[in-house]
Symmetry: D2
Subunit: 432 residues, 4 copies
Amino acid sequence: MVKLEEKVFRDPVYGYVHVFDKLIWDLIQTKEVQRLRRIKQLGGTYMVFHTAEHSRFSHSLGVYEMARKIIRALMYCGTVLEEEERLLVLSAALLHDLGHGPFSHSFESVFNVRHELFTERIIMEDTEVNQVLESYQKGFATKVRDVINKTYENPLVINIISSQLDADRLDYLLRDAYFTGAPYGEIDVERILRTMRVVNNKIVYKVSGMHAIEDYLMSRYQMYWQVYLHSTGRSFDLVIQNMLRRVRELVLSGYQFRHPIGALADLFLEKDLSVETYLKFDDATISHYASLFVEEEDEILSDFADRFIHRRLLKEMHYVPNDEVNKNLIKIGEYMSILGINPTYYLITDHSVKTPYDYYGHKTNCLPDCIELLMRDGSIKEISEVSTIIKGIIAVKPKQEYKIYFPLDLIKASGNVEIKNKILELLPENIQ
Amino acid sequence: MVKLEEKVFRDPVYGYVHVFDKLIWDLIQTKEVQRLRRIKQLGGTYMVFHTAEHSRFSHSLGVYEMARKIIRALMYCGTVLEEEERLLVLSAALLHDLGHGPFSHSFESVFNVRHELFTERIIMEDTEVNQVLESYQKGFATKVRDVINKTYENPLVINIISSQLDADRLDYLLRDAYFTGAPYGEIDVERILRTMRVVNNKIVYKVSGMHAIEDYLMSRYQMYWQVYLHSTGRSFDLVIQNMLRRVRELVLSGYQFRHPIGALADLFLEKDLSVETYLKFDDATISHYASLFVEEEDEILSDFADRFIHRRLLKEMHYVPNDEVNKNLIKIGEYMSILGINPTYYLITDHSVKTPYDYYGHKTNCLPDCIELLMRDGSIKEISEVSTIIKGIIAVKPKQEYKIYFPLDLIKASGNVEIKNKILELLPENIQ
Amino acid sequence: MVKLEEKVFRDPVYGYVHVFDKLIWDLIQTKEVQRLRRIKQLGGTYMVFHTAEHSRFSHSLGVYEMARKIIRALMYCGTVLEEEERLLVLSAALLHDLGHGPFSHSFESVFNVRHELFTERIIMEDTEVNQVLESYQKGFATKVRDVINKTYENPLVINIISSQLDADRLDYLLRDAYFTGAPYGEIDVERILRTMRVVNNKIVYKVSGMHAIEDYLMSRYQMYWQVYLHSTGRSFDLVIQNMLRRVRELVLSGYQFRHPIGALADLFLEKDLSVETYLKFDDATISHYASLFVEEEDEILSDFADRFIHRRLLKEMHYVPNDEVNKNLIKIGEYMSILGINPTYYLITDHSVKTPYDYYGHKTNCLPDCIELLMRDGSIKEISEVSTIIKGIIAVKPKQEYKIYFPLDLIKASGNVEIKNKILELLPENIQ
Amino acid sequence: MVKLEEKVFRDPVYGYVHVFDKLIWDLIQTKEVQRLRRIKQLGGTYMVFHTAEHSRFSHSLGVYEMARKIIRALMYCGTVLEEEERLLVLSAALLHDLGHGPFSHSFESVFNVRHELFTERIIMEDTEVNQVLESYQKGFATKVRDVINKTYENPLVINIISSQLDADRLDYLLRDAYFTGAPYGEIDVERILRTMRVVNNKIVYKVSGMHAIEDYLMSRYQMYWQVYLHSTGRSFDLVIQNMLRRVRELVLSGYQFRHPIGALADLFLEKDLSVETYLKFDDATISHYASLFVEEEDEILSDFADRFIHRRLLKEMHYVPNDEVNKNLIKIGEYMSILGINPTYYLITDHSVKTPYDYYGHKTNCLPDCIELLMRDGSIKEISEVSTIIKGIIAVKPKQEYKIYFPLDLIKASGNVEIKNKILELLPENIQ
């Protein structure tokens, strides 16, 4: 394999990202990887944490670097990956998020695409990434895809980049904490790496590393509640989704846009969305069109575009679902209709659930990506059998939240005082 | 009250410790507070974490600073302490550890003293600290003592420096993590402070701060297992204890020491140990005498002194207590006697238990220092009612460890191969 | 003045940004301030430091927060700003960068606008910012403008946000270091704040803070060379500039664009560029049009657009200017023309100079923004009179660099081997 | 060479210190290395920076770890040390401070010993360290000594642990900054390591690392003025020196001590101070005797002992030396004698000078340990030829300070008002 003189990227999370292989260097230079610079890692979260402006490009470099560290750690404890599999892991780490669109989850829910599918297609179809992989070795693209798809033959290779404790999760927790300023992302990575061992082609952890893993699971839990599920960020995502849903509806109904919407229409009209079209979309595209949409005649579109551009978020409220509340929500929707506020777009219910550790199986039936400990006596145990913390957490029902989002500004601005007041009375929380 | 031009101490945990009151400044200059510079905060832990060499003096300044921050945070949300009570909190924070002896817990267990009692006596008897307090206000020493003793009338004042989430714990978690290098001490102090409110003269926390508190409780749990209960540190503490126990036994039996042991004898012989004698002891004293004891004829004393000075620790092993193991331990003791190794000193069993949150009461019966949340509807709830994490942790049995400590080096060095091998076979873990 | 319940923004540089005033809160919500979210603080620097993706919005909040800290520090040492001037400083701090366009310096050099002018216009003309300021107090916008323009009557107010050691510089050094990962931005802000005093309506520093200021000046110097003047970042800026210059040339010459360029044409054609048009431009706009330009027929435009989108930078080389080298550069340009590579766009010389401290005046003639120390005897001295470090640095010629940028890829791709080789020979550095 | 399974020490400065070689592990366990745990790295500095309580043991581990990193960095760029020389560097790094006594510089100045000599003797004479070294390889102790003495044949080996930019300095700057909390110790170690190259058996630095080195030199300069030369720390050192000087005078004059002073007397009386006696002394010994000396009849001894134990420092004042001031100082001494205050002990003048970079030679005559850069054209230049910052600093006179230390408390307490006032008037600074 062609080795480079080491190249580095300065990175605040790791100090440096180190590149030693020409294959990796060439992958980084491709259009498709460079495009990730134009897609924010955390979608609309920067509307809550104003410094969460980092891109999927920096995360992808980070997952690569973390995978490199894991490979090195395994080597120290005696498990040396063959050259080809080493490069397979590193390539898959770098490329695993290639298919993300702008404001990912919003985009996917509207266009009914899955970024996983586009990651696969970008690797396999006619792209620079595909060329670089194939020119390293005929058939290498397929192998990289299989690793990302978790169908590759050697489970260890898959393990490094996708499991309950993988390079992807480690990087995003560290990185998202760094860039949001949330104080929950400190993870004792060095200890986790040091206690890794390979048993039956799977990474397990010496029991002396258990506390570091407990701490990692707690960080993950905290980041979910504090950052990823933050209701203001959700509110902004809903604004984007509704803007895009409205565009689709308008495109499909033949609405005449004041400003041409170019390739955006293709997204809705193209039968089988091509990789080429898909790759044209990034945060800048959405942002640019949103600024044009502000001037559209359609009120719903122009309202959501304006909310997007000028950060006029929907109001959120917590509720506890029960028959009465549910009936009230339906009534609120009816009243909103009377005020001319379309509840399909403007009254959204949202439900989130999170446990710090997603494994609920039984010993005889351990999910392949669960976290296992290597005990002093050589046996292997799933972590919740050993850790009282994890056991405790699994024992209770996971934390849930129910919320509604709606345009309090529009409601308050309505001249129909009677209906307005009825809505305000029915809301699950008081408005002073 | 006399105000100073602000004085500061550079402190790596807070940036600076700020002093604005002459009373506090004068207390810091007293002999008794300065003595805390000569007592390590974490006793023998520096034998495991080699940088854990920080003193109780720096912790005491830290608790003072944290108490100052809490008072300021309460002020921002509308609860202003009167001048006298403000100084009472700050003084108590600074002085709360005044009675600690060298290698505190070891010292206390041998001499059967409690540092709490000596803290009280140093504040009340004829000391510089007492003079400074009384010259600020007649009777002030008594009030400071009452705060530390938790008998003071205003529970809020007590709350700030002793509860499940107080200035003492916050400082030691932050500080001990900083100086050991353990990566578990990051706590979102600013958020905790921001969500404090006072209800019924007790500090409660807005529910929006719950995650920060969960994180704090986890940090505390991790620090216990990773640092405070670390078995090597325990092993070193046992060496100190046994050295001191042996000195006592020798003093009481009239043993003639090769080198005079000065005031050390008074510790054992004085009927009512005076504050003056007590204050003469610090880490340097113990360390100095240990270096003399190395040259004593008594083998047990000289062995433990040598272990102390040259870090020859006892070997530790985990075991799971059951009838067979317990019988084995008794036999090991008998065999050790045959080898001339006194099991009273050399075979020690140890049991530790820790939950991250010490509260097990019921709603009707909440311990005064439990952590309570202020809910959005104005009600107050104990945190484990709300946090699934905490509830989960309380639901399972706390984590426990059983260990023995013994001198593997002495056993291995024995010429009696038969007995030696019998011991090795009976040990709860294998020795290669 | 209307006070808010304190609001905060989580910020990794300061922990939190705190807002107590309704005026400030309302300013932050305006369209014009929110627009700064869509403009990167460091323009093209993220092409070198991949995490330098932070926006002018976060910097603007940061300058506000730092100004708030300075006001508080001055208050502690006895200089209390009146309420109106306090809000004047805070507003000016928040708004000082309002007029920045996308990829600021590139944009300005092509469009011949100055962001300072647009900052002023946005504050004074018909904008949300102007409304908020005027609704606080008639005439307040004018005052804010005067502070930013440095024509306001009270020099202290100006001093806080623009001088050699002001809130703007402190924030950008800290922030840019944090987001690039460059290890040079640690500044002892707390000590600098603590040693501030006001003498004759100007901020001076107690001599005990001198070392912290030396350190700040060195950080600034290092950040300039390591980050702000980094040649790869410069190379990317030149790509943007040339792309925009080419658009202008094409627009003015009546070129027919394949895709409509909308408001972008207005930028070149509008006689007096309106604030409304100007504010439409942000990084997303430029990025969006660049992706369209890739498909234009004009080769220069499509080449530079492609370089922008896919990070194909110009090659840079250092040179030492002298007659021979200068002649060579002219010849290189001529040869490039022969190869069909327009040297007006493709052969760029660049010269940078930096001293860590920009003051060269004399005592009798101290520039108003120089850094002055308050000596123990009460006298005031310019820092280079006292600091041997600063004196030394001023004594030598400032550091300079001369570079050329050119498209090595295009030259190498040329079929005219003879001319190509001539160019390669004339280059100031060897190409292997 | 015998390899261990990797062992680690948690270290807050590096995360972990890694040990791979049995030789190093065994050296760390020796009595002589363990003794360094009982000697503070910064002597009396903890009286100013209260958290500067770290030991020479942690520094020694740190220098070892940094040397290990340097060796690895050199290996990456193609210079591989032979196994023996690798261990030589690591051993020398670990052992280089072995001969330090308690409160090092004070101790040395009074006992007229040099720690370098004792480092050498401990390595060469009958000690555990010597045994470990010799059992690795006959004659290895001599080689280690030669490296520390800078007489070893391969200059590269010496270079790593003693030069203007060596493992020793890098560790102490990082470590002392961490433990004092001084914000000046951040150094871009990774970049320095990455730009190291070996030319003619000497480490040089690629010019691209120059700014990191400038930054290192500035950190060093700042740490000197802010920490190492801090006048309060100096004041405390003078207290220790005077206490020890007084003991010597008393011992030599046959004074009868109230409490036996054991081995301390040997220090003064032993003709050729033995390594065994020397090694008995650590911070605890000095501290223990000081607490006994408080009760001595000799007033000078008991006063200085009390100052040591209870932090009653001498007052310091800056002065600018000239004929008049010098005459005043002599008079002050005379007046102090009249008050019964012995000026030999109680009136101390102090002069400190520091430049950030100690090299003043000429190109033809470069000191062996100067810092040299590897230029782009392959030539080597001393850094001050290239760096305008360093050149500037060398161009001016180094920073100097003159101070006196004296017992203001004793003078103020004197009943002889006339003489007291005369002294106060003659002091170089005003006392209110």
